[in-house]
């Protein structure tokens, strides 16, 4: 195995060029005040002072809320789905997994635009409500539409790792549990769920990270009405041109994400050693 070590060389170079250096740049921008150019920048905490504004704190908490709700919904929908897939014949399983990933083959923007035409005030959903004689509801440009969009887009990232964990489980473990007198519920909570925990954690981390930093979906489905951290950062970089403030928000977000991951990783039984 030893000589394979050399093959990590390109990867180290790659991550230095595309992960480490950009992140250092973000830190540099976050702690200076030179605007777009780094030439006449000097150390400053102005950007961080700006974030303390209660308004931006609201944006932070709103983003967390969206992240948590999306993750919870993805888990509630994704776990049963992954579990059911493992109950099918082994030949059918790959096909079912394929079905869950098919939506990802379609461009994210396109999928989100589809939701717009379904959820908008004169859209398909309200048309169906009208046919049933019900009053139309305004879903578009609210937290609900944003959450629907996020859950729909990130669900596969919850299903796949859980499925991978579950499908590795030896069915004999379950038989042993029954033999030892466990009922169905006990067998599930004590054996199946515990076994799938690493997959659940990976799924939770993936969906939470994506949901908390998403910006295209909240932009399209939230109509600027629902500003999340991603939108705030995008706005600072693209249209306002205040890269220092944008970097400061990104920096804080990165730190928060790092803490969340290390906290979640601690629960992971696989990492005990």
């Amino acid at each position: 195995m030893k000589h394979f070590k050399h093959m990590t060389g390109p990867y180290i170079l790659w991550s230095a060029a595309f992960i480490v250096i950009p992140f250092l740049l973000i830190i540099l921008y976050a702690f200076t005040d030179g605007g777009l150019s780094l030439m006449d920048a000097s150390f400053s905490l102005d950007s961080f002072q700006e974030i303390i504004d209660p308004l931006y704190v609201t944006v932070f908490s709103r983003s967390f809320q969206v992240g948590l709700i999306t993750t919870a919904l993805c888990f509630l929908l994704g776990y049963p789905m992954a579990y059911m897939i493992t109950k099918f014949d082994e030949k059918v399983q790959p096909i079912l997994i394929l079905f869950t990933t098919i939506p990802m083959w379609i461009n994210l923007l396109l999928r989100t635009y589809a939701w717009i035409s379904i959820l908008s005030d004169n859209g398909i959903f309200n048309m169906l409500l009208g046919k049933l004689g019900l009053a139309p509801v305004s879903i578009m440009y609210t937290g609900i539409s944003v959450n629907i969009g996020l859950v729909c887009n990130f669900l596969p990232f919850m299903i796949l790792p859980i499925y991978t964990s579950l499908s590795k489980m030896d069915p004999a473990l379950l038989e042993a549990a029954y033999d030892l007198g466990a009922n169905k519920l006990q067998a599930f909570t004590r054996v199946v769920f515990k076994y799938s925990l690493p997959g659940v954690l990976n799924g939770v981390i993936l969906t939470f990270l994506m949901a908390i930093s998403a910006f295209v979906i909240p932009k399209l489905l939230g109509g600027g009405q629902y500003t999340l951290l991603g939108n705030l950062i995008e706005n600072q970089f693209i249209s306002v041109g205040n890269w220092n403030f944008g970097s400061a928000i990104s920096f804080i977000l990165a730190v928060v994400i790092l803490f969340t991951i290390s906290f979640l990783k601690r629960i992971d039984p696989d990492d005990e050693d």
Binding site: H3, L36, E50, D53, L55, Y56, T58, V59, S120, D121, N122, S138, M140, Y141, L220, G223, G224, Q225, T227, N231, L232, N235, Q236, F237, I238, S239, V240, G241, N242
Partner: protein, 351 residues
């Protein structure tokens, strides 16, 4: 192992050689890189220009003058840009633009003299007008009471229409609406007035559930999703031509009279081709096709008249208001003032 890697590398090289070989013919053609606002050109004209001048056009779009500026500022280069008045003024001041050689624009006579020689570029040294218009309110005649229109911009704060309003997601135009509603100049640098406008916008978000959109306002209003929208006159005309329930008006308190122009950047190498393109867009037939596609009022006068008398007959949004003393043109803002506006705008949006 090393052998395998080198074999792979050679394979990749050979393959890429073969691939670039196919595209070689295209590569030799001169290239023109254009940066324009979204939904703002008849794309078939680009293909036609490519054929006529045996060149290749790289066409990219932006969603606001500010995002265009950021992209240029970070080092991206284009040959031709289509920014608005105040942004042109800024680009001139910051030395991004090359002068126009008017001798190369033989279609100069077609241009409407009224949109030439404005304050942002008094002698049109740098800019060739493309489209012009105003900002106004598009409303659904079946829903909005005619009497309420007398409120002007404050119609956007009328509780009757709560949850039924699109605002336009543009920093300067949003502040323009608020400043005009309060009776101030839209170019004000008075911080008390700007603060008041900021509070007007925040209060509006708070009480009216407005939605900020950009180009998607066109599709949304054509399908009648909401009854009131702040739109550019050209978008208004386009929507009215597709949905006859809609009507357009420019509030009495005054509005933004804007002009978008084609400009050539300093980084442009093939200036001859760039001038050819600008001249091509000023041709009457081409300008007519272009105006027909995007719905805006062309700076090419004969094309504008053809549209006004045929395609858009009776659509008043197509004829931007002129001569109203409260209408203004956006002016360049100093760095500190711009930053002040941007910070407040970020807050309005984050609210």
């Amino acid at each position: 192992m090393k052998k395998l890697v080198s074999v792979l590398l050679i394979a990749v090289m050979v393959l890429s050689l073969g691939l670039t070989g196919c595209g070689k013919k295209d590569k030799e053609k001169p290239v023109l890189k254009i940066f324009n606002a979204g939904e703002y050109i008849d794309k078939s004209l680009l293909t036609e220009f490519e054929k006529a001048y045996n060149c290749r056009i790289i066409y990219e779009t932006f969603d606001s003058n500010e995002s265009m500026y950021t992209k240029i500022r970070t080092g991206e280069t284009y040959d031709i840009l289509v920014p608005s008045d105040y942004m042109i003024e800024r680009l001139i001041k910051e030395d991004y633009l090359a002068k126009i050689d008017w001798n190369q624009i033989s279609n100069k006579e077609n241009l409407n003299p009224d949109v030439m020689g404005q304050k942002f570029d008094p002698d049109n040294e740098y800019s060739v007008p493309y489209f012009y218009g105003t900002v106004g309110i598009l409303y659904n005649k079946k829903v909005v009471d005619k009497a309420d229109l007398a409120d002007g911009w404050n119609l956007l704060r009328n509780k009757k229409y709560k949850g039924d309003i699109y605002m336009y997601d543009s920093e300067r135009d949003s502040f323009m609406v608020a400043l005009k509603a309060l009776g101030y100049s839209m170019n004000t640098s008075n911080k008390t007035k700007i603060q008041k406008a900021y509070r007007w916008l925040v209060k509006q978000r708070d009480t009216m559930d407005v939605v900020y959109v950009t180009d998607d306002v066109i599709d949304n209003m054509i399908s009648g999703n909401k009854s009131i929208a702040v739109v550019y006159s050209g978008d208004g005309a386009l929507i009215m031509s597709e949905n006859e329930d809609m009507d357009f008006f420019e509030p009495e308190e005054g509005t933004n009279m804007w002009t978008d122009c084609m400009v050539i950047t300093k980084s442009c190498k093939n200036t001859e081709l760039a001038h050819e393109f600008i001249n091509f867009m000023c041709d009457v037939d081409n300008a007519y096709l272009n105006s027909q596609e995007v719905g805006y009022s062309s700076a090419v006068q004969p094309a504008f008249e053809m549209m006004r008398d045929n395609d858009f007959k009776g659509i008043d949004a197509f004829i931007p208001r002129t001569g109203h003393d409260k209408d203004q043109v956006f002016r360049y803002q100093k760095n500190t003032l711009r930053k002040y506006y941007s910070e407040l705008w970020t807050k309005v949006k984050a609210y």
